[in-house]
Amino acid sequence: MTRTPLVEMRNISIAFGGVQAVDDVSIDLYPGEVVGLLGHNGAGKSTLIKILSGAYKADSGEIWIDGVQATINSPRDARDYNIETIHQTLALADNLSAPANLFLGRELRTMFGFLDDSRMEAETTKIMARLNPNFKKIAEPVSALSGGQRQSVAIARAVYFNARILIMDEPTAALGVHETKMVADLIMELKAQGLGIFLISHDTREMMELCDRVSVMKNGQLIGTERVEDVTEDDILSMIIMGKKAEQAA
């Protein structure tokens, strides 16, 4: 490829109290591409991605965005690079309404500097009509919502603020069949709009369908990155389990 990658994470390492959580990992992501991260629990996928979203700071390594080296020290920095993250734990404040969550940290204000709740509510209604037409409980705390509805609030946040780089950490883990389908459709739609998406999931089959490339991690190390059309689901599984590349495992 001759295009500039949207994101390049180069030689990233981070350790927590002697445990090398991520060990010299390099991955990249192009516009309009979905890259899947696979691996067992504790393989370092979420940690790697949290470095990109500003939740952790890498001990070493570089992050390049659009071919320019980037400094990401906080979630706010990541936002400035149009990186939006949908976290595994669904970073929503349960006691607040959907609009309050959607705009959290980036509230719309009135001309006097007060929160413009009615405008935020109206904007939320608008975007939800597009993402999840069944979404009606605009004013209620999100604790009253179903898993899928909560997920659409998290996704709406990314879409509303024109993310260019979207990180989705197990977006379908807590969802039913119908809702999973909805999220999958949405991923394809965002991809078509030219967003780059990092997707973390345990569901290998789902990953084979949604992703263009998959990167497999084990014990903090990158085992390999493959184009999905070049490999079978079994190849990927053996990479996850054996920690070896497909051709070596055979």
Partner: protein, 437 residues
Amino acid sequence: MSTPNTANRALSGADKAKKTRLIDALELDTRLLGMIGAFILVAVVFNVLTDGRFLTPRNVFNLTIQTASVAIMATGMVFVIVTRHIDLSVGALLATCSAVMAMMQTAWLPQFLGLPLGHPLIPWLAIGAGILTGGLIGAFQGYLAGYLLIPAFIVTLGGLLVWRNVAWYLTNGQTIGPLDQTFQMFGGINGTMGEFWSWVVGIVATLAALAALWSKRRDKLRHDFPVKPLWAEMALGAIIAGAILGLITVLNSYQVPAARLQREFAARGETMPDGFTAAYGLPISVLLLIVVAIVMTVVARRTALGRYIFATGGNPQAAELSGINTRLLTVKVFAIMGALCAISAVVASARLTNHSNDIGTLDELRVIAAAVIGGTALAGGIGTIYGAILGALIMQSLQSGMAMVGVDAPLQNIVVGSVLVLAVLIDIIYRRRTGKG
């Protein structure tokens, strides 16, 4: 057997639905209704037990001025508890602020700035210094909790011992007084607005409340959101107007004793005309509480700071991932608490007309209890300013009601303590039933 039973159940279900619809139409908070109900119950029971002495204008007046100091701090405690912290040092911090203000008035300003006692600037400089002291100490405790990650429980438990005794050193353990005459006006009986201005405040407050209701409705209509039926809106407006004007009426019917009026006239070198009467009206301390309550409610509901406080309480991780600086937020929350302790110190010391060592002792428990009875969840994320004030009012009513009935002081404390635990139990059951929180 089963048929009538089912029919019965269906009927009661329909009844329930009707009731729910009425409350829904008014969009009233059922928890708020519960608290108001509890308050009315307490008031009525004590009124019966005291042969009508509990609800006299005089006692209502006293209740309001006794509640003011704790209620002002309770509004700040809501923010502290909502962000999953606690502040055990508020009573001690109140004492330090009170000591600073008392020393400013009686010693430091006259000695170092050469302002004569009674100089018009003295009370304001003293209050400014007190609020600054409270805010800075609060911010420091917030820094210890937010940045150095010492649990707020420990920071403020230490603070409880530290600030009470810093106050002792500031005053050498002496009672400082009498405080400045103007300063004393914030205490209650020595500073009331009289009939005319009380009515002015009452009418302005009523109009402001109605205007707020109306603009909220207009705003909703503008965005095509559902609004409650007009009758419900008007009923709510009538209830609010009735409550405000009712309180003013009661406070305006508490007459200043003739002897006191005569003294006041004599002090001005005049003689009191025959048949002259005057009422106390709204105490300035209560007006101060109302202003604090409005400001804190606006902060909680309409500013980003308030939104971040509740978001952090609901899910600290989510708040941080949303780019909220939760550490600085902790500093701000404790600074607000400290500044409110200083405002309460003005009210408390002005009411006593002097600063004494034991001022504010055990206030931390009253303040926390008021916030918690008012529906603030210790798990964080949930709480209202009006709830905390109602909580303080309920506690004070219980205490002074029992004192009027002649209940021994130890038994009073046993009852108040039990009520606190019971209130939290009811709250937990309520939340479980309604699925709120």
